[in-house]
Symmetry: C2
Amino acid sequence: MSEVDHDELVSALLAGKHRALARAITKIENRSPGYRELVSNLHRHTGTASVVGITGSPGAGKSTLVDKLAKHYRDRGETVGVIAVDPSSPYTGGAVLGDRIRMASNVGDMDVFFRSMSARGQLGGLSTATADAVKALDAFGKDRILIETVGAGQSEVDIVKTADTVVVLVQPGSGDDVQMLKAGILEIGDIFVVNKADMSGAAKTVADLEEMIHMRDNPTHGLQTGHHGFEIPDHPDTADPAEENDRWEPPVVETIATAGDGLDELLDVLSAHREHLETTGGLDRNARIRAAEEIRQHLRSDAATLLEEEIDRHGGIDALAERVADRETDPYTIADEILDPIREAIGTRSDRQE
Amino acid sequence: MSEVDHDELVSALLAGKHRALARAITKIENRSPGYRELVSNLHRHTGTASVVGITGSPGAGKSTLVDKLAKHYRDRGETVGVIAVDPSSPYTGGAVLGDRIRMASNVGDMDVFFRSMSARGQLGGLSTATADAVKALDAFGKDRILIETVGAGQSEVDIVKTADTVVVLVQPGSGDDVQMLKAGILEIGDIFVVNKADMSGAAKTVADLEEMIHMRDNPTHGLQTGHHGFEIPDHPDTADPAEENDRWEPPVVETIATAGDGLDELLDVLSAHREHLETTGGLDRNARIRAAEEIRQHLRSDAATLLEEEIDRHGGIDALAERVADRETDPYTIADEILDPIREAIGTRSDRQE
């Protein structure tokens, strides 16, 4: 891509051309040549959108809820961008039919920009691509950006961390969800939604969630009492009052997304969390944490590419591994042989010697 | 540590001094200065031990089984080293009592060398430390090395991959174990043991495991038939006869470790897997795969250290993140500012430009 094309794409995107936005996100998703410069140029135009991440296990009703939220924001005259991410799907193909059906529901309303992304098998690639796509939507001028992600585990956590507010959807009575919450999702939820609240077991799921949130926020109580509910406040003096005020107690909201029940309450809670972030400096703090994570992620990814090139320059991994297996050398010696010239070149080697 | 001390430690270890072995493993576990040179020097003396990894969820009976195996090998006149790893425990402290009780059971028999290791919160640190400790035991001359690991997930998988043979212990009727098997343990098991085979549900667990193993090794069948057991051989011609001979069908063995029941069968199966590895070239193949993984792991870890130093030289992560949050610059630009001098120094930059 020539410099002129590149500048044109950025200009068209900033001027609000949806085709340019679509092209930019495709470039970002495919890691096409020039995507880094593109994201670099867009970065300075970001910072105005409100970004909400929505996660939960398959079938919890994420898509329906996202559609309802998007419609609500549109009715208020705000513009919306949706990025749906499926870390478990290696190909975009599988999501196409679903995309078309959902896009059709927004026909004639180009201000809901819907885009799905899927895993490319790159380590950390999907969360980086999602963060970059959010920047494109933000720079474009979308007021609201919704990140929807299916799947479970670390990739999901990394993806929704791009958002200012993380909503975790739970389906009543599903043992899977409790497992998932234990695996790291509980820690990142700002708002919990028990969807399909008309299903049996909803009240118990709400109660379970509230207990888990309480234990998350009061870990010493949790450790002392386990699940027995027999609580002795052990160190009542240790709570920092300043921190206490800054603390957000994640609410549990019940919804029936298909009928729109509970949507108003969820919208209120979303606003309240946004306000909480603004008044406590949480928005800025999160932005800095995200920036640090992005810097480290890019460095890790670029360094990994660099290391693979260096491995190849030293004969390739197979030849190196064979020499180790034959006891001619060992892994630490090889690592030093590859990295010592780099250490010397950047002049840090003398600092590192014992 | 001076060079003389270092050489003395290596010599004493190779001469069979248990105190030197204990000191070496402590140095390895703590990543004390000089641990790399130590492991480098030991590496060329490795390659004679038979290494078995034993994993499974807490309470499955790993410790009992490991003790029985160790005793059996000792009765045959072989020397044994045991490394028990707990990725879920951040401190060694918690394991001390258990260690003492178990070490007491081997009092007077110093040829069962028992050592527990716990997580240090380092990325990949525990599997690297385990692999290094195995090298110390191997170089020392232990005939049999048993790696026992509790916990679940990726860290467990990484740890037992150090072994030539991986034994997965499953407790009858535990839903947890089935979940765990789905999460990656199934793929790495060479031998499955249903321990506590006198518990109700043992027969069903054996049947479930055999079905899962069959589906693992015949993935297309699995995809076609799901759990319905209605199998149509779709492409009978695609099986490679050479590969077919090299294939190891993981057996499921029933044991009652406390009583020693099923131990003989397990020992036979362990021997059979070892023989299979030897006759098919699997031992060498695995050694090369492990060597490649160790080289990459060391490079990743060292590069991460190097990157943190470079981040500090560029003002520190907090200052960099603040400049990004303030839109003065962006994460890709910072990554390039840090890595471009390195790329130029090692002369690969010209190859990388588009």
